[in-house]
Subunit: 584 residues, 2 copies
Amino acid sequence: MYRSHNCGELNASNINTEVTLAGWVQKSRDKGFIVWVDLRDRYGITQLVFDEERTSKTMLEQAQNLGREFVIQVTGNVIERASKNPNIPTGDIEILVSKLNILNEAKLPPFTIEDKTDGGEDLRMKYRYLDIRRNPVKNSLIFRAKVTQEVRNYLSKEGFIEVETPYLIKSTPEGARDFVVPSRMNEGQFYALPQSPQTFKQLLMVGGMDKYFQIVKCFRDEDLRADRQPEFTQIDCEMAFIEQEDILNAFEGLTRHLLKEVNGIEVEKFPRMLYDDAMRLYGNDKPDIRFGMEFGELNDVAQHKDFNVFNNAELVVGIAVPGGNSYTRKDIDKLIDWVKRPQIGALGMVYSRCNDDGSYKSSVDKFYDQDDLAKWAEVTGAKAGDLVCVLSGETNKVRAQLSALRMELAERLGLRDPKVFAPLWVIDFPLLELDEETGHYHAMHHPFTSPKPGQIELLDTNPGEVKANAYDLVLNGNEIGGGSIRIHDKATQAIMLKHLGFSEEEANAQFGFLMDAFEYGAPPHGGLAFGLDRLVAILGGQETIRDFIAFPKNNSGRDVMIDAPAPIDDEQLAELSLKLNLKS
Amino acid sequence: MYRSHNCGELNASNINTEVTLAGWVQKSRDKGFIVWVDLRDRYGITQLVFDEERTSKTMLEQAQNLGREFVIQVTGNVIERASKNPNIPTGDIEILVSKLNILNEAKLPPFTIEDKTDGGEDLRMKYRYLDIRRNPVKNSLIFRAKVTQEVRNYLSKEGFIEVETPYLIKSTPEGARDFVVPSRMNEGQFYALPQSPQTFKQLLMVGGMDKYFQIVKCFRDEDLRADRQPEFTQIDCEMAFIEQEDILNAFEGLTRHLLKEVNGIEVEKFPRMLYDDAMRLYGNDKPDIRFGMEFGELNDVAQHKDFNVFNNAELVVGIAVPGGNSYTRKDIDKLIDWVKRPQIGALGMVYSRCNDDGSYKSSVDKFYDQDDLAKWAEVTGAKAGDLVCVLSGETNKVRAQLSALRMELAERLGLRDPKVFAPLWVIDFPLLELDEETGHYHAMHHPFTSPKPGQIELLDTNPGEVKANAYDLVLNGNEIGGGSIRIHDKATQAIMLKHLGFSEEEANAQFGFLMDAFEYGAPPHGGLAFGLDRLVAILGGQETIRDFIAFPKNNSGRDVMIDAPAPIDDEQLAELSLKLNLKS
């Protein structure tokens, strides 16, 4: 062992004991006759001291030449510090070094190893091993480990069995794209990496495993939006002989446990909201309910005048911005520009100021009188001093636009406090979703989700109206988990696949093993999967997931540290019976 | 919830309560006027009863028509059984059913769902979801989950942090073959699936993470021997600021914890054996020390006569078979045939019977007298009633042959008791291994293993003699873990790679990121990885790993249940900029 103690544990009670520490040189201060060195390891920082009186000349010189991030081992006596540092646990003491051993030298790091570093994202990723030395990253990884350990402890105590499902599975043309893996031993054939262990966990239920979970990597070869990774981790769960209510209770229990153990926060029973209500009130299936600003639908009180922008709109809808009447004309113009940006896509914004004296002043005073505007205020819940912002247009689009505006304004108003946690179940999702490009319906959750009892007939007549036993767990405006009650009989599964456009042949080729399994005594079952990366980031009070992943990839799916992916040589390709077929 | 209780928990204390159970029909006995049904779930079996007197006629008929593996839900009263079954926890009671609900019918399963099934391996794999319903498989998976949970609890308590390393990494031509993954977003480029997270865990040490572990899937695209899987699970561990002694103690602690918590067995400090001694005494670097039968090297006492088979041999070596003098001539001839099989490859076997009267009778009495044979007995530790078996030839070959014979005889003698656990550290492995095909040395462990201090100079003169700070943990004749102290400076790593035949260019292309990392303050570090699949099987008292893997692949690397790998369509290939280039 290179040390008797770590750099985070020594304090006044250790004074006058000889200790050996090892770690990295965080920084040093050299006054000529005395040198202080901050020695850092995973656990903290301990101050070392070398001086003319008490240290040999050679060692003092050595200490003077220590560079940042040198790895050293020191032995010395714990002594009381002259000027104490109350900000760190070891701040009362320092080590008077009697032995100094340089374990490894270090080149000057390309960015500072400090909580606030001068390194940009790209540099930090290239030298991720140095970035991990920084507290924010190191602590995020330790935090992640704590969360997963709590998940495992809780679920194990509740009787869930962690089962590893395979990573080399079969490609399905369904949904987002598979990564494929050529097999050398099976010429011309490919495995696929799982986008989720969905079918395997269902087979475990058919196998009687009853309560399953797994913390598991999943893979998706798709164009990466910011903050998405080609490989990501799920807490994957499934239960048999349960109804939706049981699933919601089980995983509400898990989430409540995490909030308590990890964040020290006790949360009451999670509210539940119908998908339709979430869309109507927040324009969004993952509403952030840490704050209000609910939508007010204004068709009834805004389509009776000569303002054709509203009259021709499918939906006129507004929100009240608390204190928004203090915005200057310029502020509001900027807000209008903001909603007109292509990312949001609104054509314009109507507003109405709620003055302190109870009067209103709107951008459409030409069309609407005080009584009209009073009704707008009433419907949106605006009070004196607020600003009512109104958008109009095609329902789905305008809801998305107003939802974006709501989130932006809440951010500006400081209403999205990362220390506040507001979980929410959104339930009764539609079974199918219209793909506007192709005009076809596809499964909103996945093809194994069961329709609400009695609604399967609607599939033929009004597929968009069919609701599913599907639910999402939302935390602070982020979907952290989602799941459904599954189909567990072959006939229903066959109807579902037919409606999703699978021929019988295709259905059998892809999912034959699952349909077979349903014939050998499949129990009713359902489950849920949490996105671990995001869950951990949110519990950690962050919005971006990258610092909670040890070695993340960039937006092109590249690991810039190891420089992957990379070409492979022709011999390796030939062994796999493959040839490149480059487009360019 | 479909049930108030599970099928394993009701007993006499529940008599006269109404309960609801759900599960599978294990079997039923129909006496016409009375039907008993064994209802099974993950937790056990509960007997249901339907009869003419107390059950409605319709329900009795329904019960009579229940097939094996039907999924049912029943409500009824817990009553005392007339004829109790002391072999199961629920054997004192049965359920007088008042409500029967068939949740799902089942086709007759292709094999019996019993502890001893009539299904062959292939059928069981194709219908693995049915196989998992059988106790031996189900219990193995639950056992595995318990082991991993204990591993995590122990290591977390010891301050290890579980960190997830990436699955999409970079291909290295080194060692066994990588599975590669074409990247759609990076045309003509490939990720590789990790054979182990080796370099990443070393980078975590450079990053100051100090004590790391991960239970992680690894991948190897090689011809599968029986009982190997293309994807397998490791408990991967690494520590910084430690010496070999610290690693051995840390993971001996983990293994002792598992033996205690999982098997209820307390084991004293694990013995340690030099690699050279293991080879000399057992012909094997993973000796099973549950029993003796150590090798006795006989060159000194067998090369002084006219028997040229021995005189020309590099090594003459024997073992004493306890009680082996009872073997008939025919038994011994069979044994000689056994060692001459091509899998073993011996040219013959010399034996010497140790008679009860202290005399000897050997197959080479023509050459050796009683004094000679007495010395053979002394060197091999044979006692009266034993049989001395002697092989001779080239050292490495004859050791392997005698080791195989030793294991086979121990198996026949019942000396390999799966309930007995004999762990052993084998230390001081050679750094390099001669590849007899190519005549080149390659890394015995991996290229990051550090040579023993002061031995690096030997690399030039006598590379085969260089010992490494490398160690294996052996349990009952199986290597369950292995590791090493790593190189942590760029210069040594460069020398190592050069000796392994890497040009400077290749070394940089493959391991540049690691060599760079070593320049920014790398601490001394080392680690170990356990093969989880085998560890779990051995702790579970089994030699084969397949039942401890939920969805294993067969010897051709195929998942016969989902039928993977499989061809993918041309469109998918084109998207990946690939073309098939079939050899046949």
